[in-house]
Symmetry: C2
Subunit: 547 residues, 2 copies
């Protein structure tokens, strides 16, 4: 297309084409800001010179241990310094970073070790037993030996080394603080392997490229925007989409990452007050934690903290409570398959700034619009792949296309083809488009209930149930029905000390919902959850079949 | 290197790999912010819906006129709306944008038309005679017919149409406001052809790719940083490195570009006060213009304006005068060959914030460090390509490598190979490295004077001469000398009403410089300048030979 008549001598060469990789941001920060704080964890503070020196040691120690470019290195770590270092140092060794959710069960960890052919795992003392058990299971089931364990001892957290493994600090001590990074020769080379915590079946291994990681970082720095020298509290676990890419993004402008082992209100307030946190990402539950802090946990601060929240729309009550405390909350959305956030509910102060709080909250609960690192995010009819009208109600599937979409699922070409059918990544999330183009997710596609040919959004029904003063949590699934095909069935967890009857909740819903959307059955029970706190609807779906 | 054991199904495809191009930023802004101001020019205000509608009309009108992907379309325009629209619409048609310096002579414009095989030129009424004369010259010399002229009538500036050409508004009227962009299929496709205004010989045509333009824009948004909704006054001519890429960068966060036809103090102050300008780029002469504004031109404003200045280090006196007026000045550096700025004198407030004004100014006069869109900028020995020590004095040549380095010179593979020798782009600028890695440009390599084996920086000698109260401008070049090989020879323009003698200036220099650096000859005369205001040292070098 846009090729000129004569392109002689205008090809790519070393001087004018460098593979995109986040590693260049770190090398730049090391050169420009050796004296600046790169990382804070409790009483520990690392300058960029210290931090990158440790990362280079890790690069060199990995190579010394036989980790070759393309090999997989795992982590079982909280957001402590070793995890930040691994986020850079594993790709810096040309290897592929496999951060494992520390809340997973032994069986799943063994599966991931085996499926990814992990060579080495950096495990916090707290998770060494998990890694050991997974290796034992692998041995018992003939799945191979599993990765070598390097034990990360977090003395600040009060853990004593087990004595059974090389410690991370000993491992680093053998490395060279001036070792060069193994830079990609092609930006499509693999940088990370992140297993999804799927609600059904075995987790799938999502593969990231150096190109995608560079662009998620640069796009986040530009669009959040991170500004000069951000101070980013890493609440998002680094094992979720590499902490949504924030450990990479924060270096673009020489910022400071702040590690945190456990997400408690006091620790968050301390970080904000003591370390002047300017940005963090987190689920709405984190906002709840901040709001519900005890008086003795709260600390005064006099700046605004920018918060990206993902996982569920921030409830209006949460926004109303947290914004006066000094937090500006923006909803973002993405999946492991999109390197984390690629949709942002961009705020338009001139249009919405003067609206009443309730209307502002409703807008902030929208999912949003594409961030600049992704080429397109929209809502398509999953059959025809045509865009649904922007009418505020027509449902379709959220689909994406662009450079921050995964390379594919590791060793799973069938699932990859399915996910990319028709030239789009199929998110599995159901949404409509507002007339101004902002999308609003209403459901996971498999959570849609089809009753008498009508689509019912389980989230809509759950939202109504959650408004009942006695309800703590609600999950609505399809129950097979001879007449209607499916009908909504609600599972409800009540607040401590509260009571409600099935009839009362059904009547409550009928007042607020169309008849076909009203649950035909309500069951009171504790809801089953995954290691990341997602409700396991497949368990409830099974349960509903036999009711 | 970082390829996993099994990459089956993990290749690039439409869903996960989109060619990088600035056009995606504009399409995103059009969708998210249709109602926001995209462009202001005098009394005219264009929303993103209006602006992109006009750009799409241009795309469609160009295609209707037979402009095919890969064809070259020229401009001879001030920073008025048509120029912003062309900056998007020509690449949006898959064509190659050739912005021509409006101060060039007929001969050079004819050369550019002919060398670039321009199909069409958008020319402001003021420059229609220049375009016509260039075409006439081409015809007379058998260089072909030259581009069709589309006349841009700027009524606000008081120009009446010549009546000899299709007007731009008529041209747009024939276009489709919903026409799709011709997106690149490969991000290496060509997007712009910018001729350097070399101080010797024919200008060379620098070719930009869509990839490079995307990255200069995103990197600038992240690193300046532009923040939310910047309001950018486009003082840098759009014919200089496409206005350093700012018209692209400002759209990343839905910002507003403000056009300006002539760089006068009153117009700048009006734009800042009326349109709340947050950012602009400009040469130090622009800063002088602001400082020297007449009282009736000044307007009060209560925010800080971020300024990128390039072309020469901002003099200490200028910084001292302008910063209290509400401007924060940062020096940047780059060349047409690097898409504009790739080096920024990044300020470290915690290290330098409390220094006396004079020391702060000295630091701000450094050239700086690499911006995040370029992989490496350093100072190498031009013979060995080894990095010079960071000792604050060892001289070498500034060289770059990365994605915002040109594809090469159009139809000039020899010059391209020379510029890229050894895997680096050779800037031709001479610099040393401070111990902290900040580079400081001292000279153009051809401006270095070698006297008795010692290198003399002409800029250093000029800097001393400029401190003399009677001197307005000084240029120092080599004069052949039998004994020393070369000796410094100064050409000096005095301030109006001031006098000085040769002996006096030589004595003034001798007090401040090593003997071998002191000019052996001083000539008082008006200095010859290029169309962009650069002093034509080659003219003086010739003159010095016969003195």
């Amino acid at each position: 297309m846009g090729w000129m008549k004569d392109e002689t001598g205008l090809g790519k060469r070393k001087a004018n084409h460098a593979p995109l990789t986040p590693l260049t941001f770190l090398e730049r920060a090391e050169k420009i800001w050796p004296e600046r704080e790169a990382l804070i964890y409790g009483q520990e503070r690392f300058s960029y010179a210290d931090y990158v020196g440790r990362i280079r040691r890790l690069v060199s120690a990995l190579a010394g241990r036989g980790v070759a470019p393309g090999d997989v290195v795992s982590t079982l770590l909280p957001n402590i310094p070793a995890h930040f270092e691994a986020t850079w140092g594993v790709p810096g060794a040309g290897a592929v970073l496999n951060t494992i959710n520390t809340r997973l069960d032994v069986d799943t960890v063994a599966y991931i070790f085996s499926h990814g052919e992990s060579k080495l795992v950096l495990a916090d003392t707290q998770f060494v037993p998990l890694a050991e058990a997974a290796k034992k299971l692998m041995a018992a089931e003939g799945m191979g030996e599993g990765p070598e364990i390097i034990e990360v001892v977090d003395e600040a957290a009060g853990f004593a080394p087990t004595g059974r493994h090389t410690t991370y600090e000993d491992f680093l001590a053998g490395g060279d603080p001036a070792a060069p990074f193994v830079m990609p020769e092609d930006e499509w080379e693999s940088l990370a392997l992140n297993y999804t915590s799927g609600t059904t079946g075995r987790p799938k291994g999502v593969v990231y490229s150096h190109r995608g990681a560079h662009l998620i970082a640069l796009g986040t720095a530009a669009a959040w925007p991170l500004g000069h020298w951000p101070r980013l509290l890493q609440i998002v676990p680094l094992f979720h989409c590499n902490g949504w890419g924030h450990a990479w993004a924060v270096t673009v402008n020489g910022g400071t990452a702040i590690g945190i082992r456990e997400i408690r209100a006091g620790a968050i307030y301390d970080a904000i007050a003591d370390h002047k946190v300017t940005h963090f990402g987190g689920a709405p539950i984190v906002l709840q934690t901040i709001i519900n802090a005890k008086d003795e946990e709260r600390r005064p601060f006099d700046h605004i903290v920018e918060v990206f929240t993902a996982g569920a729309p921030p409830p209006a009550a949460v926004l109303a409570a947290i914004e006066p405390l000094g937090f500006n909350v923006t909803q973002v959305y993405g999946l492991t398959e999109t390197y984390g956030h690629v949709v942002e509910c961009v705020w338009k102060e001139e249009l919405w700034g003067d609206l009443p709080q309730e209307e502002r909250a409703e807008i902030k609960a929208r999912t949003g619009v594409a961030m600049p690192m992704i080429e397109a995010v929209t809502v398509l009819d999953p059959k025809t792949l045509e865009e649904v009208p922007a009418d505020g109600h027509s449902l379709g599937e959220v689909m994406m296309r662009g450079n921050t979409v995964m390379k594919g699922y590791y060793k799973n070409p069938e699932a990859t083809e399915e996910a990319f059918a028709g030239g789009w990544f199929h998110s599995g999330d159901v949404a409509f488009r507002h007339p101004d183009g902002y999308i609003k997710i209403t459901d996971r596609s498999k959570d849609i209930i089809i009753s008498g040919g009508e689509n019912i959004s389980s989230i809509e029904v759950e939202g109504v149930l959650m408004k009942h003063p006695a309800v703590l949590l609600a999950a609505v699934v399809a129950k097979p029905d001879e007449k209607w095909g499916e009908v909504p069935c609600a599972f409800v967890e009540l607040k401590e000390g509260q009571t409600a009857t099935e009839e009362e909740l059904i009547a409550f819903c009928r007042q607020r919902l169309a008849g076909f959307k009203t649950p035909k059955k309500v069951v009171f029970r504790e809801l089953p959850k995954t290691s990341t706190g997602k409700i396991q609807k497949f368990v409830l779906r099974e349960a509903a079949k036999t009711l």
